[in-house]
Subunit: 424 residues, 2 copies
């Protein structure tokens, strides 16, 4: 199945017309992008908002340098993970008091997976999927072992397109299902409400990983009736390299949830310095230790920008960009055996497109040298993220034209493109 | 017991002479300190090195903004936790390949406490102390519960000056002892080698919390034969608010240690994106998820400065400053019932001095208003940290003079000083 180009996709000029009519076009000027670069890797690390550097300088020079220890109160440092969580809430269909900023997404996944499993005592199975982002699977291995008892570790069941399916693994032994909403490699998106419904029917709890969703696709956690979620802020949210994760817990679970990483910032009365742990009310109990304030400053600056964004416009443009990319790949790259892995159906597509192609690694390196930055995911996928705030239709056109040229001239065969760095 | 002032402690001029002869004096110019402030809270949040702001701007504007995703390789982001760990090693008596940067100290304590306890299977007791910094105790509560099995949670034994003592709790059931080297409230310092020896004699493993030691007092982990350690970088190391912790594991334990937070950055081959977790060799297995790069940039800038510091000079000056403070408090503040809680003996004193005084909270608030920043720890301690890189003998003189004036005039009784903020 291939897509035919529509009239608005047949020329670069037509793409420029789409850009001229783009209601999000002005956001591109709010980012610092290096000249000559078409950045299609915002699904891995978002671009730098122009206001971020000044915000971070303020935190460094004024809040830290001048305010010193006083900034824990005066600059609101202690409250920052809660305050920024509240600003992420509208992006994921969460209510007030349901979101807090965490540590890394891996650590936050551990927090919610253990808390969720503890709400289903006696059930000994954790379900995830073989194609999940590996850190989720790795952390769940530990959760299984640590929550095991005399009868051994918990059991893990991994679903996969080749079987078993979710329907096949769900039974009365399943405590928790942990799935990533938009797959990091293929861009395939789950029907959050439908999956959550099935999981609840089996009496289990649903944990969503939103790393590749937030800021990219509509997310309605409360609408879907989900239980727990975590997500990343350095991809589509542009919080900066390694900016901290967020944690969402449905209000109905908050008072009974027992996260395992019981640090003093999650304590009910941290400044009484008591000997016994007592969990704080609400999402505060999911906090652990002292947050990394400089990284939080980057996130805060990016949220200033997101406060202004219409998420419906983001989704509409995201689908326009990925539709355009898919149609151009179909019409121009077929001779080189390029296969589109990402679903063509809108309802199950995230904001990225993966192409399967032999020699994907050197091809991506050649693309990067020409200024088109995507990434490679072994064994044979090249992956492109479409971030509606700063990618234009003309960018998509140009990227495909450069990729076509690289394939047609076989310039990717140059020896320099096959040498691998530490991160591919 | 009170100290008599020596000749070099009797006048401000004598203190200025000490400053003129101070081999560390030039470091004060390497920090941005607000005018009119005597900062005696560097044991809680270190001051801002002058070079830090520019370093962070470089990471934001060049490495993130221009380098974008390429900086994971080109700017060495992926390797940063290892590279910065190597630079902390000389500050704590660690060898190459023994230190890695972690997450928050709470999370890092969880990593090492579980890893340590797993090396002593069958032993069901974790020892700590009632006066430990509470987050350590809170995290250990979780460790106890998670490592429990059919016979229940592990047992916790807390030592205390009022009993039981370490000798009394050590037996063949003890798996791990977790102690903080320098106490956060009193500044009392353990004999690391002696305590470690006792713990090993009982067949247990020793975990040291170095939060109030690193950059303040001599630490020789390998010399003491310790097993695990974690520490903080935002206090005496001046890494910035919430800058990440470090983790040390003796080389002999690294290949058998199994930390519980098994994220992809601790995987042997993270970029193969495999389904099963396989721990990396060495300290890398203690890494978890994506590090917070902006906070790491702050730490990197501060380590540039520490590379130049002679630790013996730091210890000598620290003792000079705390001796001076203690002598001045003895000679001038006795009329108001001020009691020195910190040990007077050098061998067991860290780089801070705690005073017990009724109405400590409003007194500290009055001090802060006068530009002398320390902090209050309930119920009745006011705490002063002496950071040899930027605190002078004259600062100590002036701080005591201002405190004496506040006590003598009872200016702390003003109503505005008794209102509490969130962080005291």
């Amino acid at each position: 199945m291939t897509a035919n180009l529509t009239d608005s996709q047949t020329t670069r000029l037509a793409c420029e017309d789409l850009d001229a009519a783009d209601p999000l076009a002005s956001f591109r000027g709010r980012f610092d992008l290096p000249p000559g670069v078409i950045y299609l890797d915002g699904n891995s690390l978002g671009a730098l908002p122009k206001a971020t550097a000044a915000r971070i300088q303020h935190v460094v020079i004024q809040e830290w340098g001048v305010g010193l220890i006083r900034s824990w109160n005066d600059a609101g440092w202690f409250d920052k993970p809660r305050a920024l969580g509240e600003r992420i809430a509208p992006l994921i269909g969460a209510g007030p008091g349901e979101v807090v900023i965490g540590d890394s997404t891996s650590v936050s996944l551990f927090q919610v997976a253990v808390a969720a499993a503890r709400l289903r005592p006696g059930r000994r199975v954790i379900v995830s999927e073989r194609d999940n982002f590996p850190t989720d699977l790795y952390m769940l291995e530990s959760v299984q072992e640590l929550l095991g008892d005399a009868s051994g570790a918990l059991e893990r069941r991994l679903i996969h397109d080749d079987g078993p399916s979710l329907d096949e693994v769900l039974d009365e032994d399943v405590a928790v299902v942990v799935l990533t909403h938009v797959n990091y490699r293929t861009g395939r998106m789950y029907d959050m409400a439908e999956v959550t419904r099935k999981v609840h029917e089996a009496g289990a709890l649903m944990v969503w990983d939103l790393c590749h969703s937030v800021g990219a696709v509509p997310v309605d956690l409360n609408g879907a009736g989900a239980d727990f979620a975590i997500g990343c802020t350095y991809k589509y949210l542009n919080g900066g390299p390694g900016s901290p994760s967020f944690i969402w817990v449905a209000e109905r679970h908050q008072s009974s949830a027992r996260p395992p990483l019981t640090g003093w910032h999650g304590h009910a009365r941290p400044f009484e310095f008591g000997v016994e742990y007592a969990p704080a009310a609400g999402m505060t109990r999911f906090r652990i230790g002292t947050p990394q304030l400089l990284s939080l400053a980057g996130l805060e600056a990016s949220l200033d920008l997101w406060d202004e964004v219409d998420l419906a416009q983001v989704r509409a443009k995201s689908l326009q960009l990925t539709d355009l990319f898919i149609a151009l790949v179909d019409s121009r790259l077929a001779p080189w055996g390029v296969e589109i892995v990402t679903p063509r159906e809108h309802a199950v597509r995230g904001s990225q497109v993966a192409l399967r192609v032999a020699d994907g690694y050197p091809i991506m390196q050649a693309l990067i040298e020409r200024g088109v930055i995507g990434d490679f995911r072994g064994p044979d996928l090249i992956r492109f993220g479409f971030t509606p705030l700063y990618v234009s239709h003309a960018d998509v056109w140009d990227a495909v034209e450069i990729l076509e040229d690289i394939l047609a001239t076989e310039s990717w065969r140059a020896e320099r493109f096959s040498r691998r760095g530490a991160v591919t």
